[in-house]
Amino acid sequence: MKFGKYSHIKRLFGIYFGILFLFLILRPFLIPKSFGKFGHYRANSIDENINLNTKYADIKDCKECHEKEYNDVASFSHKNLNCQICHGALSNHVENPDEFKPNIISDRKFCLLCHAEIEARPSSFKQIDEKKHFKDEECTSCHPSHSPNLK
């Protein structure tokens, strides 16, 4: 017998521990660098989440160039509205005013999104019965968007 009583077990466990060793040595190279800095996650992912494009601008950027329109709106009921509700996302326009022109949405269907009388809307909010109130007219013919209050 050229083998001892435990030779086969020794060889098996040798192989097992060899694999374990290899794994433990390779592991630090395979884990992403910033992992574990703040917690059990890849710290670089925080910056990846911050460095995304913003598409909606801040309303004070609108005021900078469009002070007249801004003050116009401020004197009527739409004064608390963000310009971008009707004019779309404006980050591009703020960066590049000539290349990106804002939308102007003012059709009846859009106004009704807020102002149609539907169930669950608080009664203190101004709403109209869309089937009855001038149902074939554009809202803006009597209620201009920036100055919607009737004289």
């Binding site: 992403p32 992992f35 703040f38 917690g39 059990h40 996650y41 890849r42 992912s45 925080i46 990846e48 989440n49 911050i50 460095n51 995304l52 494009n53 913003t54 598409k55 909606y56 801040d58 309303i59 608390n80 509205l81 963000n82 971008q84 509700i85 996302a89 009704l112 999104l113 807020c114 149609a116 009388e117 539907i118 169930e119 669950a120 809307r121 608080p122 909010f125 869309e130």
Partner: protein
């Protein structure tokens, strides 16, 4: 005698702390404790008109696919009829507004409930992620690491609020991040900015100057599913008992 003394002292050792008042009053902690230096949001239900502008703006800002299956935020409409039946709907998440239903029964109560990720302070979604691809930042926002995620979907199962969805393009889960890319630059989340009624209020929970703090201090507020002890950081003012 000696054995009786011993047993008495054992009882005293283990049971005394439970009956000290200071421990009992601390067992269920309040938002003032877990909200330290964290972002939070208050939603004022009495103001929401269900126009859906927040849903639409969020989808545009955050590249959420414009199909009725994936939402970072959405609006639910509750109709509570006089006979006690409750009807809830959320057509396309409320993005195109809601229709006039003219139901045959009389309505006793009705309201809109905007929903989004509650940015829980003890998020079950983070607890179950097997690799560490979702986490909570130091300022209280739960984010997803899309480059590390393996796509197992366990976090989507674990969220009690249905806030997570599987993004078809990145093939990882996605959810509301309180517009982290905006709030870290001093802006507000898009849903907060765009709301025509200012029904969403955003800020740091424990900063006395912040409107969120003022709401928490002055009004009774509720959270969704408090019994699950996730410590949500989205608070609802004037939320009805039928809301789940």
């Amino acid at each position: 005698m000696k054995r009786r003394e011993f047993i008495k002292s054992l009882f005293a050792f283990f049971l005394t702390p439970i009956f000290k008042n200071e421990i009992i009053s601390n067992l269920i902690i309040s938002t003032f404790k877990y909200g330290k230096d964290k972002f939070g949001m208050v939603i004022d239900i009495s103001k929401c008109i269900g126009c859906g502008r927040c849903v639409s703006a969020c989808k545009e800002e955050n590249d959420v696919p414009e199909v009725p299956f994936y939402f970072r935020t959405w609006i639910e409409r509750y109709l509570i009829f006089e006979d006690g039946e409750v009807y809830v709907e959320s057509p396309n998440g409320g993005m195109d507004g809601f229709k006039r239903l003219n139901p045959p029964k009389k309505i006793a109560k009705s309201f809109f409930i905007p929903k989004l990720c509650n940015q829980c302070e003890e998020p079950p979604c983070v607890q179950v992620c097997p690799v560490g691809a979702t986490y909570e930042t130091d300022d209280g926002v739960v984010l997803i690491d899309k480059k590390y995620c393996i796509g197992c979907g366990y976090c989507v199962q674990a969220c009690p609020y249905g806030a997570r969805y599987f993004h078809p393009k990145t093939q990882t889960p996605d959810k509301c991040t309180f517009c982290y890319h905006r709030i870290k630059k001093g802006l507000l989340p898009v849903c907060v900015t765009i709301c025509p009624q200012n029904a969403r209020i955003f800020g740091k929970i424990d900063d006395p100057e912040s409107p969120v703090y003022k709401y928490i201090k002055n009004y009774p507020l509720q959270v969704l599913k408090p019994h699950l002890r996730t410590h949500p950081k989205v608070y609802y003012k004037d939320m009805d008992m039928e809301v789940r």
